[in-house]
C-alpha cells in the first residue's frame, strides 16, 4: 500500500495525469472505490499540503494535485454515489478580491475528501456575503483571502453576523494568516487553516462535534 501511495503522490506532484488516472483505475479494480477516497486521496492530499507548508513543495503542485484528484472524484462519484461527509451545510468564498487559487485548492481538496460545498463565489463584499448567509443559511463558512485588507473584512463580517444574531462557524485561510499567526483570532474566526488539509481536519472535527 505504501508503495502505491508513494507512486500516486509522485504522479500528482509531477503533474502526470495519465499515470495518476491509471493508478486510480488499477486501485478500484482491486479495491472498494470508497477506500480510494478515504485512504488514498485524503491521505495523499494531506501529505502534499504538509510538504507545501514546510516549504518542500510549491503551490502549483498543491493546486495541480488537488485538481487531478477532483477530476478523479468526478469520474468516480456518478457511478458510485456516496453520502457527503458533511452533516452541516458548508460554504466557501473568496472575500473582497478576485484571487481565487486558494479557494479552488481548498474546494478541490474538500470535494475530493467527500465534502459537499456551496460556492459563494469571489470578489464578494461583506454586505453581499451577509445576504447570502441569510438566504442560504450555511452553518460553516470557509473564507479564503490573499490581501491583508480582505483578511480584516472577516472581522466586519463577524460583527455583522453578531448584530443579526447569526451563529456560524468561520474557518479562514490565506497568506495574511500564514504571516501573522494570531490574525485569525483578531478577526473573529473560529479557526485558521494553514492549508487545505487543515480545512479537512477542522471540518471533520466540527462535523463530529455536531453529531
Amino acid at each position: 500500500m505504501n508503495l502505491f501511495k508513494n507512486e500516486f503522490e509522485e504522479a500528482l506532484v509531477n503533474y502526470e495525469k495519465t499515470r495518476a488516472f491509471s493508478l486510480f483505475e488499477k486501485f478500484v479494480r482491486e479495491n472498494e472505490t470508497a477506500k480510494f477516497i478515504d485512504e488514498i486521496i485524503v491521505e495523499i492530499l494531506s501529505s502534499i499540503g504538509n510538504k507545501w507548508h514546510k516549504g518542500n513543495l510549491s503551490l502549483s503542485q498543491v493546486y495541480l494535485s488537488s485538481k487531478i484528484c477532483e477530476e478523479i472524484i468526478a469520474k468516480l462519484l456518478p457511478a458510485q454515489p456516496t453520502a457527503p461527509k458533511n452533516s452541516r451545510k458548508t460554504g466557501i468564498v473568496t472575500l473582497e478580491d478576485h484571487h481565487i487559487l486558494g479557494k479552488r485548492i481548498v474546494s478541490s481538496t474538500l470535494r475530493s475528501s467527500g465534502f459537499n460545498l456551496i460556492d459563494f463565489g469571489h470578489g464578494i463584499s461583506v454586505e453581499r456575503m451577509l445576504e447570502k448567509i441569510i438566504s442560504e443559511k450555511p452553518e460553516i463558512l470557509l473564507i479564503s483571502v490573499l490581501m491583508y485588507p480582505s483578511a480584516l473584512k472577516v472581522k466586519k463580517l463577524r460583527d455583522e453576523l453578531l448584530k443579526n444574531n447569526i451563529e456560524i462557524k468561520i474557518l479562514v485561510g490565506g497568506a495574511p494568516f500564514n504571516f501573522d499567526k494570531n490574525l485569525w483570532e483578531k478577526v473573529g474566526a473560529d479557526a485558521m487553516g494553514r492549508n487545505a488539509t487543515d480545512a479537512v481536519k477542522m471540518l471533520e472535527k466540527w462535523m463530529e462535534a455536531k453529531s
Partner: protein
Amino acid sequence: MTTEMSSMERVMTALDFKEPDRVPLFLLFSMYGAKELGLGIKKYFSDPDNVVKAQIYMKEKYRNDCYYASTYVAVEVEACGGEVIFSENGPPNAGRPIIKHSQDILSFDPPKVKQTKCLLNTLEIIQKLKNHSDSVPIIGTVVSPFSLPVMQMGFDKYLDLMYDDRQLFADLMSKNEAFCVEWANAQLAAGATAIVYFDPVSSPSIIPREMYLKTGFEVARRTIPRINGATATHFASGNSLPIIDDIVKTGTAAIGVSSMEDIGEIKQKCHGKLSIIGNLNGIEMCHWSIEDTQAAVKNIITKGAKGGGLVISDNHGEIPFQVKEETLHAIADAVKKWGHY
C-alpha cells in the same frame, strides 16, 4: 565613524558590497502616502503631484533612503485595459481577468507606454522626484512578464496555461516581455535609479525549481539584460533560498526576500553576488510594539549587515496602510541605533 552619507551614497555603497555610514532603509510607501496626506487612495493616485508631495514628505519624516515611484501593482493591468478596484485601506487590486480564455492571448495587444495615461502618470512622478533631488534613489517597478499573467488571467488559469499549453504560454511571455522592457526603460529614462522586478511566481513557494528553470528563469534571463539599469528581483513574500544561485545568473543586482526565511542563511548564499532587500514581516508589522520592532530590525542587522549588501525593508514590497506611524519611527530609530557601521 564615517561621515553622514546622502541616501544615494549610502545605497550605492551598500549595493557595491561595502559598508556605508549605516544600513540603508527602504520603507516602500505606495498607498501609505494617501494616509499621510489625508486623502482617499483613489484620489491620491489620481494626481501625480500628490504622490510626489507625499514621497518627499515621508522621506524626511521617516528617514527613508528612497523615493518609491510605484503607484500600485495593478496599474499594469489597468494599462492593459483591465479594471482596478480601489479600497479605502489597502492596495488597489486587479479586478476580473482581461484574458478570459487562453485563446484570447492571440489577440491580446500589450499597452504602449507613451499612449497610456496611468503609466504616464508614474513617469511624471519619477521626473518630478528627479527634478527635486539627485541625492535620493528613485525606485521604479515592473511586474515581471512571468508574474503579470496572474493579474491578466487569474492564478488558476495561468497555472493551467503554464503546465498545459506551452505554445500560448510562450506567446504571452513574448508580448509581456516586450511591454516589460519598454515600461522599465521608460521609467529609467524618466529618472528612476533602479527597477524592482516583481516576480513572485518564480518563487519556490509558487512553482518548483524545475519548472522555474524552464519558465521564469528563462524569461528573466531574456528580460533583465534588456533593462537599461540595475534591477532588484522581488519575490513579494515568496521564498527564494533554493534558487539563489539561479537568480544570480539572471543578471539582477539584488533580491527582495521573505520574512519566512532566515536572513543569515540568505546572506551567506548571496554575499558578493546579490544584495538583500528585506525582510521585515509586513503583516505582523501592523501590530508590532516598539520592542517587537526593535527586535526585528536588530535581528536583520546582526545577521545581514556585515560587509554591506543589505537594505532593510519589508518582505512584501509595500508598507501596509494599517502600520502605525510609531512603528515606522521605531524602525527608523532602530536602524539609526544599531545600523551604524
